[in-house]
Amino acid sequence: MNKTKEALARRIVSDDKVTFGFWIYLMTDCLIFASLFAVYVVQRSATAGGPSSNELFDLPFVLVETLLLLTSSFICGLMVLAAQAHRKNLVIIGLIATGLLGAGFLAMELTEFSHLISEGYGWQRSGFLTAFFTLVATHGLHISVGMLWLFVMIYRVSRVGITPATLRKLTLFSLFWHFLDVIWIFIFTIVYMIGVL
């Protein structure tokens, strides 16, 4: 009895470490994005005779993209609530829904990219497009990593159910997913909304 209590106490302390460490990791990742944002702001007007942001961006299209990601984040939040209630099937459904919306977001992003590239406005065209592609694609890369993580979590939840370890991993995943959401809000504002002004 005493032994299990002790083990549990230790587990909680170690959970605390992992969560704290993950928060610090997120902040460092945030700084990578901060660097890319700074570069984008500096490079925004460096169009080298090519198109500028207000000639390229299709705001309604990006708005739909944004809503997909926001909805996926919302469902991800519900998924964690389901996990806390130990409702395994709901968690799996939530994860799948989050993943589908994330995939939709990625598909739209890639459509936008291929559209720009096919018109000859790839990243080689100008300093502005370099900064744009790198910032948005870095976010997209993170989303892809999140999707991979998500698949692994679906596999794990279906196999071992909601153990304390799984619950913690789901919580960390949702932190990551919400973080990417916040970054996207900044991309939407600084790149797209200010871009079409």
């Binding site: 990578i32 500096v42 460096a46």
Partner: protein, 660 residues
């Protein structure tokens, strides 16, 4: 299939072949020794796969000290070139090779010597000082170490296959862009730094969590040893600065790989943006190195003055202030960029301001010695040498914080002398003091004091001889990185003096190697029989030397600053608490595998072997997924009986070898 790789990548020039032969020879020699001693299995199970931060720390120290020899070999070539290459003589190196050598020298000394030594000492000391058995994430710690080794492998690999960057230690564009550096040198630079930099970032996160979550009960923040504070501040800087490096190196790499225009000189690229970004990392980096050195000295001066550290609280605030201010001074590296008088004035003032907390620390150390009963052991000698050289370097730094003066000495040898003054007189002296001071704790015996003293004097005199002439040369207008100069400048005499200084530094290193060998040979005469050879103050001296795998049989309860010292002043009845079972992380080859795969991926990208880079990256991802999802039995448990046996054996061993 093999990208840009072909037989032409092997060295042809005799000096370059010599470098390659040395690296290959050293590797073969090392492998032969291990094979001859039949130690491969031991090396694998006791070190390579160990998650014990003490062993990881020792590995960091060994590799970093070997890299110090490599970086010093570069120094010898640079100094020889500048002594000889004037007038008709072209010296011993071609201009291109000279550029590669100074680029490699700077990169190796900062990333693979200073960082390696600092992380080695942090691994060795932080868990012990906070009364913990381990770091927060032992496996991640091993990954960090092997990523560092991957960087070391790449930068030394560039000696054998291909070439190294000739663009200086920070690879400024547009010189480092594909247009002006089409070879693989800059790619070697990028990927060696990128991979080891990610390792440093992970270490930063790891030690922040360790310090904030794993202190012994009772150890509030203001009761932490000052070294732990300095590491906490340094790791905050790592967490804030290294992401910028990661992003910047990625951008430079994209410019070279897929034709983006971040830093190119055409199509809207902006080279000055790189210089801003790299120094937004680079200036905090200097403090990442020096803050732990400050911490080491603070512990040493208190111990050898038999007094508690003067002004502990102001020391902590000074550290915190330096941490914040270090992000507000980066522009002083390029006042000449033309940002305008007001911008330069702001950064000049901030640079001068950062000298204030540093000055507070110097005075606190001096006041710690005041009225102390000072023991002039070798660590204390390094400390006193540091006070002199570091203050000199600080003063020249404040001089250069004035933009008008900086315009005069920008990119001259004056600057080179200044930062060597801070790095050698500050960081390196601190590390040597630290290694000497904690050596008995790590290995169970002291280093020879006499040879250590010789080494110290050689370093101090050699340092002054090598760098004071550079200050003068800088004021006389000698630019840095010159492979040739005109005799009419009248510089050769001072370059000769600097060359002599480097020879004296070399003598100092010779004494250090001798000291190590001699001390190992005579180890039974210098055994640490008590676990507390210097009459120390902090928790690590309360356990046997060398420290058992679990650090503490019982996690101590801390009631005051310098808790061990206080306990010694008020000895209490030995209340025997029963031993208890201890959980420790199991060995794992995971970190080693990630390191090897990362080095492979880096090598493949450098040579444009993209399929291999893809395979290695997918393998890394698979390893991570398998490791993090599987329900591994990742811990072993030492039973109470085993702990008791190990403890008794450790205490027996301390006194066993001593001749009566």
């Amino acid at each position: 299939m093999l990208g840009k790789l072909s037989l032409d990548a092997l060295p042809h020039d005799p000096i370059m072949m010599g470098g390659a032969a040395t690296v290959v020879g050293a590797l073969i020699f090392g492998a032969l020794i291990v094979t001859f001693l039949k130690r491969w299995k031991w090396l694998w199970s006791e070190y390579f796969t160990s998650l014990d931060p003490k062993k990881i720390g020792v590995m960091y120290l060994i590799v970093a000290l070997l890299m110090l020899l490599r970086g010093f070999a570069d120094t010898l070539m640079l100094r020889a070139q500048q002594v000889l290459s004037t007038g008709d003589s072209q010296g011993i190196l071609s201009a291109d090779h000279f550029q590669q050598v100074f680029s490699a020298h700077g990169t190796i000394m900062i990333f693979f010597v200073a960082m390696g030594l600092i992380f080695g000492l942090i691994n060795l000391l932080v868990p012990l000082m906070i009364g913990a058995r381990d770091v927060a994430f032992p496996l991640l710690n091993s990954v960090s170490f092997w990523l560092y080794i991957a960087g070391v492998a790449l930068i030394n690999g560039s000696l054998i296959i291909g070439e190294f960057s000739a663009a200086g230690w920070l690879a400024y564009p547009p010189l480092s862009t594909l247009e002006f550096s089409p070879g693989v040198g800059v790619d070697y630079w990028i990927w060696a730094l990128q991979i080891s930099g990610i390792g440093s970032l992970l270490s930063g996160i790891n030690f922040l969590v360790t310090i904030f979550k794993m202190r012994a009960p009772g150890m509030t923040l203001m009761k932490m040893p000052i070294f732990v504070w300095s590491v906490a501040c340094s790791m905050v800087l790592v967490a804030f600065a290294f992401p910028i490096l990661t992003a910047t190196l990625s951008m430079l790499s994209l410019d070279r790989l897929i034709g983006t225009h971040f830093f190119t000189s055409d199509m809207g690229g902006n080279p000055m943006m790189y210089i801003n970004l790299i120094w937004a990392w680079g200036h905090p980096e200097v403090y990442i190195l020096i803050l732990p050195a400050f911490g080491l000295f603070s512990e040493i001066v208190a111990t050898f003055s038999r007094k508690r550290l003067f002004g502990y609280t102001s020391m902590v605030w000074a550290l915190a202030l330096i941490t914040v201010l270090s992000f507000t001074v980066w522009l002083h590296h390029f006042f000449t960029m033309g940002a305008g008088a007001n911008v330069n004035a702001f950064f000049g003032i901030m640079t001068a301001v950062i000298a204030i907390p540093t000055g507070i620390k110097v005075f606190n150390w001096l006041f710690t010695m005041y009225h102390g009963r000072i023991k002039f052991a070798t660590p204390m000698k390094w400390f006193l040498g540091f006070v002199v050289t570091f203050t000199l370097g600080g003063v020249t730094g404040v001089l250069m914080s004035v933009p008008a003066i900086d315009f005069q000495v920008h990119n001259t040898l004056f600057l080179v002398a200044h930062f060597h003054n801070m790095i050698i007189g500050g960081v390196v002296f601190g590390i040597f003091a630290g290694i000497t001071y904690w050596f008995p704790k790590i290995f169970g015996f002291k280093l020879n004091e006499r040879l250590g003293t010789y080494a110290f004097w050689c370093w101090l005199i050699g340092f002054l001889l090598a760098f004071v002439p550079l200050y003068a040369l800088g004021l006389m207008g000698a630019a840095r990185r010159l492979d040739h100069y005109d005799p009419s400048m009248g510089w050769q005499g001072l370059f000769v003096v600097a060359g002599i200084g480097v020879a004296v530094l070399g003598l100092g290193m010779f004494f250090q190697v001798l000291q190590l060998v001699y001390s190992i040979w005579k180890r039974n005469e210098n055994r640490d029989t008590t676990g507390d050879p210097w009459n120390g103050r902090t928790l690590e001296w309360s356990v046997p030397s060398p420290v058992p795998v679990y650090n503490f049989t019982h996690i101590p309860t801390v009631t005051s600053r310098d808790d061990f010292w206080e306990t010694k002043q008020h000895p209490q009845a030995d209340t025997r608490v029963p031993f208890e079972a201890i959980e420790l992380p199991k060995n794992s080859g995971f970190g080693f595998a990630i390191g090897v795969l990362s080095a492979l991926a880096g090598f493949a990208i450098i040579w444009h072997i993209f399929w291999l880079a893809g395979v290695a990256t997918v393998a890394i991802i698979l390893f991570v997924i398998i490791r993090t999802t599987g329900e591994h039995d990742s811990e072993i448990v030492l039973s109470a009986v085993e702990v008791e046996q190990i403890d008794a054996a450790a205490r027996r061993k301390m006194t066993a070898g001593v001749k009566k």
